[in-house]
Symmetry: C2
Subunit: 283 residues, 2 copies
């Protein structure tokens, strides 16, 4: 595995791969790798000649009240995980390397942002789209891998790639789950023992909603009510949102049709959990 920290070396390395006609799978991350990231790397490993992982804690996507400095970092451990997952190139630039001077341009995301978790993080996805634009140009991947755990990010990246005609295939990778259905997350350790037992109710509620839709339910309000009922009955958490939108457009629907997302966020004592499923609704 090559570890690259400069833009110049990254560019030269990737140009050589492109000249050889290699397919490139790209997994952009902020590091502190967990099983979700490993699933992305494994998917990229299966489908491409070369796998590139980037680790960059991007200051641009942190809000003024979000702690960039305290974001967890462990490059030695990450390097080991990446090597084991079969990564060929680990790109690990410094902030000074990525932002040597104030940017003269930025990407602004104008759709798909003012809902779900994006609602409370103004500018977050501008920072994500801007750094991805930079990274995409440095890596020039054939395919880029993103986890469906953050389905809104996948939707934003879908728009970025499609509207700017990036010659890149977006590959959404299913959320990795515990045996009981709970979506894996580094936040799960902050759950109390009792809360941990309740937490699978998030995915169970989503599955109940899916079954109801498969049985003919088409009213988004009824879907939301069904999930809220289930969560209230089965957990001690406080519901942050239960939302149903078209996917990946993230527009409200009067009646369910086409590809939709059902997304929920529940606050427990020391952890806010999110989960979602997408459903292709026959019209």
């Amino acid at each position: 595995m090559k570890m690259i920290t400069t833009i110049q070396e990254m560019r030269q390395t990737m140009q050589a791969y492109h000249k050889q006609g290699k397919t490139i799978g790209f997994v952009p991350t902020m590091g502190y790798l967990h099983e979700g990231h490993v699933a992305l790397m494994e998917a990229a490993r299966k489908e491409n000649d070369i796998v590139v992982l980037s680790i960059f804690v991007n200051p641009l996507q942190f809000g003024p009240n979000e702690d960039f400095d305290r974001y967890p970092r462990d490059i030695a451990r990450d390097e080991k995980i990446a090597k084991e997952a079969g990564v060929d190139v680990l790109f690990y630039p410094s902030v000074a390397e990525m932002y040597p001077r104030p940017l003269s341009v930025k990407v602004v995301v104008t759709e798909r942002v003012d809902v779900l978790c994006g609602k409370s993080r103004p500018g977050h996805f501008d920072g994500v789209a801007t750094v991805l634009t930079k990274l995409f140009h440095l890596v020039m991947p054939t395919r880029a891998y993103f986890g469906m755990k953050d389905a809104q990010q996948v939707a934003v990246v879908d728009g970025l790639i499609r509207d700017f005609h990036f010659p890149i295939e977006l590959v959404p990778v299913p959320t990795v789950r515990e045996a009981d259905g709970l979506a894996k997350s580094s936040r799960n350790v902050y759950l109390s023992e009792k809360e941990r037992k309740e937490a699978p109710a998030l995915y169970a509620a989503l599955q109940k909603a899916k079954a109801a839709i498969e049985n003919g339910l088409r009213d988004p309000q009824a879907v939301r009510a069904l999930i809220e009922d289930y969560l209230t009955t089965h957990t001690s958490g406080v519901i942050d949102y239960v939302d149903v939108y078209s996917y990946p457009e993230l527009k409200p629907l009067d009646t369910l049709a086409g590809n939709i997302i059902i997304a929920i966020a529940v606050r427990f004592t020391n952890a806010r959990l999110i989960d979602n499923i997408t459903v292709d609704v026959p019209s």
Copy 2:
């Protein structure tokens, strides 16, 4: 010469050239081609295997008071000029092809815009940078050609390519001039006979300033005064601006050093003329 109107065909065509390892020279225009554009195509022809010309009147870069509908168009004539200049691919998409639905992302230019002509055209360069991002991804050129007549646009594109790490070389092409020094422009025909005789004074004033700098002048205010004097004495036009900035950063300078631009705009009765020179000032 291939004439291509769809994104899909453009993508396939360019992919084939890339697979063959061809170098690609790209000249993005809004059509109604004149000698300035021909100079760009000729420069591209000399340096690349394949020359791509795009003709797209981009609604995104027109302000609410700027008439997108009345922008001159003559594709039959343009096609002939492009063929004669040795263009291989003419990309001529419709607005519906380039913007099939509202964009979910856009490029916002945050530096180099609030000066010179950009000052009175808010959002103009956002539209330019957004459409260029789209076109760059479709063409994936080795080199992109822009005329120095619009030096601010070259500066913005320089920032776009550099800050987003586009793997593209920007090639600024010198302004094409009449024998008497007047920068060629489709607006020159709107000058009266008397004004046409005065108009070479713009370039003459810039040359006088350059000579003074070469003789040691380093005070930007003195350079401006020198030019304003010359223009007032030699033309009946009204000075819109005479500005001196660092180039391509377009920042004000206390004392001249490094690469600088001297840019002027003069209003005649029915035409506003612009001109500029860049000077590398030894410090």
